[in-house]
């Protein structure tokens, strides 16, 4: 794999979904799949086979860390970097997110014009 092609975005906020989709597809030219919940992501990840997963932390039902834990348990993300997407900014919280196995953390608000290149960087680092 030489190029980042597919991104799976998991977020319950419709606004964010729209912005992320627009950003990744239009600005970054990436194939993007939006999932509204952790459960949906678990179901679809194998079929979509993303290069990278952008996972919101605060979601009703399965939150980000819980989703990641299941993804790992099922061996669905063995070679896929999972990046948390969060509005939490306390140092302690960021630390916790790293410790539950995220490859990186992107904090909200984010600049959608730059998001594709940020993901590109992260993906490259993961290789």
């Amino acid at each position: 794999m030489t190029k980042l092609e597919r991104v799976l975005v998991v977020d319950d906020e419709q606004d964010i979904q729209a912005i992320a989709k627009l950003s990744l597809e239009r600005v970054g030219g990436l194939e993007t799949l939006i999932c509204s919940s952790g459960r949906e992501a678990i179901d679809k990840v194998q079929v979509f086979a993303p290069n990278i997963i952008l996972l919101d932390v605060m979601m009703p039902g399965l939150d980000g860390p819980a989703t990641l834990s299941i993804l790992k348990e099922k061996g669905l993300v063995t070679n896929i970097p999972v990046v948390f997407f969060t509005a939490k900014v306390l140092d302690k919280e960021i630390e916790e997110l790293h410790s539950c196995g995220a490859f990186d953390v992107i904090s909200k608000p984010f600049d959608p014009m730059k998001l594709p290149s940020i993901l590109e960087d992260i993906w490259r680092r993961s290789q």
Binding site: A87, P112, M113
Partner: protein, 1085 residues
Amino acid sequence: MNPKNSSVNKILNESAKLNKLAPVSKAVFARLTRIAQDTLNVPIAFISLVQEGREYIQYYSGPDIPQFLSSFDSFSRTILENNILEVNDTESDVRLTDYPAIKNHSYIRSYSAIPLIGQNQRRLGFFWVLNKSPRVLLANERELLDFLAESISSEVQTSLSLEVQSNEQRLLSILEGTNIGTWEWNVQTGDTVFNERWAEIVGYTLSELEPISIDTWMSLAHPDDLEHSGELLNKHFSGELEFYDCKARMRHKNGSWIWVHDRGRVVSRTDDGEPLIVSGTHADITLQMQAKQELESQRLFLENIFNSDVSAFIVINEDGRFTYANNEAIRVLGLQLNDSPKDNEATFDDPRWHITNIDGSEFPNDKLPFAVVSRTKQPVKDIKHAIRWPDGEWKALSVNGAPLLNAFGETEYVFAVRDITQQVLLEEALRESEAQFRSLVDNMPGVTYRCRYDEEWTMLYLSDKVDPLSGYPASDFIQNKVRSYDSVIHPDDKKMASIAVEKAIEEHTDWLIEYRVLHRDGSVQWAKEKGRPVYDKNGDVEHLDGFILNVTDDKSNRIELENQLSAFKALNDISSIAGTETLERLNLALALGSSYLGLELGIVSQIQESEYKVVAFTAPENAELKNGQTFALSNTYCDITLNANDVITIDEMKSSEYRGHPCYQSFTLESYIGVPLYVEGKRFGTLSFSSTTSRENSFRETEKQFIRLMARWVSTTLELKNQQATLERSEQRLRGLFELSPIGIALNDYETGAFVDLNAALLLSTGYTRDEFISLSYWDVTPREYEAEEFKQLKMLDTTSRYGPFEKEYIRKDGSRYPVCLHGMLVEDNSGRKLIWSIIEDISERKRNDEIKNQFVSTVSHELRTPISSITGSLQLLLGGATGELPKSAVEMIAIALKNSSRLSLLIDDILDLEKLLAGRIEWSIETLSVHSLFKDIIERNEPFAKRHNVTLSVEDIDPALEIDVDAQRFEQVITNLLSNAVKFSSSGDIVTLNAKKEELGVRISIIDRGEGIPEEFHPRVFEKFAQANASNTRKTGGTGLGLSICKEIVEQLGGTIDFESNPGGTVFNITFPYRNKTLGENNG
């Protein structure tokens, strides 16, 4: 040659002395000069030859011209080179400017000199022709002259060789006649010629040494001498030395080293001037050198002896002058003699020193060693005298001397001088110590004696010190003249003394006894005697020697010491009384004191005004005395004690000044000792002991000291009793506080961990009753997971006697837990039991608050950031062209929207930063910035917001040079916050003013609005977190209630202050930033 030419002859005779040419030459010279005269038609022709660098006329032909001959030197000096010299006219020739004798010569006007050249281009001389008139030689004339000169040269050369040969022969015959060897060495080729004698000197024949070269010499010469020889040779070659002159060793054929003396010189040189032939002589000087060396070694040997510094040697001549002194002599005499004795001015009676007898008395001059030896011509021995210098230094000397005839037949005097100063000083010191010893014996305090071993101790010798011991003079006892020594010994001690002496005699040892001596004045003196028997040849006792010391004072001191010891024991017993009631302890102490002092009645009294109350006592059984019993103070001896304010003793009342005292009248107490008592610095009463009998011995100092010390003990005991009462009261007070404390307090046993005591607050938190709690073990209330932490705290307690504060949980009676913060300390109770006091604070409430706060921060963060993320994200996509091209005006508007949403986002971050601010974890970036430009940016960014509220932002005139040291982002955050508040609370159409002024302490910034003002009751809470004057405002103004808290926190952390003034007509917020705010920034990097 004209024999009449007398002046010429004279000169020629001189030359002849120098150079003896063969007689044949003269005829040749005559012929050749004549040819020149005739052919060239010149009046004078002559030949000069070089001798030792000068020209001498060798042959002359012509008239006798005195002026010429006398000026010949001038003529010869005009010749500068080995070339022909031709002077055509002496008067006009410039070369002769410096030769007036030639220039003005009356006879000669022109001349020529042709050099005569011999072998090796060596110039031999000149051939001269002289004219009376100026003349220029023709070419053929010059040729003729050259030819003639060549002929003369050849003749001279031949003649000289013959001369040299004959000289050589002559010299050789002379050398052969001596024992001197000769040598010739060609420096360039190394060829060497030795004569037979040369070889003989080194024990060889010449043929044995063949082939001979310079190496022959090199191989025989001593290696150590080669270098020196080479140096000398080079010096000679270079002209520094006229001769090569060297003494060196050579190996003789028989293996021994011989000394030779070589002398030589360069006899010819190469054309380049390098030495060619060197020749010289070779003499055997071995014997001469041996003699010299022997002499030298003898001299060294003698010098070593003289300078060995063992003895001083001096030699004095007939005049009394020192001609020799070795090092030791120089030291002893304190003189520095010159190397040459002849230069010495020092004489035997040098005025620089003073000769005396050793004891300092005058020493007669005619008895001086020099005077005696020079007068008698006889040796002297051990003449002792001292030599003294003006600076006070002196030496004692012992001198031996003798006359001596020296090598020149002169009489000299040799002296050996011994420094005996140390010896003299030692003798003197010995004498002094003897004298001291004698005086010591005389001054000894004891009696020394020698007596017979008989009934009376008959004294043979007795020192005077017996007088102070017995009151009788020593003479009384000698030979029992008036009385025997036995008569003054106390009758009770006589037997003991005889037995001790008898035993010592039997055992051949010393005796040491103590006995009493009856003094003449009736007193008894104590004597201590140490003695020993002296036996005769038969082993019988001859006499007894001994020493008696008066130890009366020691003896009474010893009694006093015993007294002190028993006082000490009594005091010790008293202070050891423990554990009983105060009264009982006092009674016991009084009994002990009474026993020690031998006084049957002892009382501790309390005195208030004139009343004397018995506090404790000891008394005979029949005495009618009770605790608490009172007397009139004036009826007790204690009034005397109190008046004196010190220890009072009465040995015998009936004979004392107090015999009229009412106490004596009533109780007939004969003896008394009393001391005032002080308790806590105040007079309390007295401690006294008394008896109905009078004292056998007066009260001693020890007894007074005893009662003082006992009084102090009584005072302490009474003070302790008071303190206990105080302590009990204090304990009650503390118990009240303990029970009322809102914070839990517990007392645990250190060893078992069991609860010993606890207060109501702790019971309330846990839900247990006191009895239930006391029965609990430590781990009933503390969860086991805290065991490790508990252990750590316990360790801290062991090392520092304190622990905590630390947080853990307690288990309530119902099983639930609550958080507590503990700290405490280790104490010991009276019985030595270790206890832990713990303060146990219930921190449930505090924890709850923290939780709420954290929850809030997290929630605010998420809830605010999510919508802002959507807003800014959308705007960024629009502006970034992700949705297609936008009209220019739309781009501008979206940019403003984006800028402000970003600012809001930043603001939220800052709200969250409040946490960091309060925790002091903010990183500052302090810069010196222009207020004017800061304001410009701030106004620009806040303008849209103000416009929405229809409020105008105005900046008053600000000095463009005004600067402040702040963190730009935080500064903007503060000002924006205050501006936005001001705008929000302004009415539509109002103006909000921003102002900055330079003040003494810093820059003061004011934000002024004309709103309705802050309600006065809210003033105190303006800067509190989450405080808003009116809760409904939250919705109306959209504030979080954190703004002003953040502002205050930022301003204060930047070192500034913030305050406000408000009334219904408006509000002014003032911020003052101090100058130089850099330190904060530097510290935070």
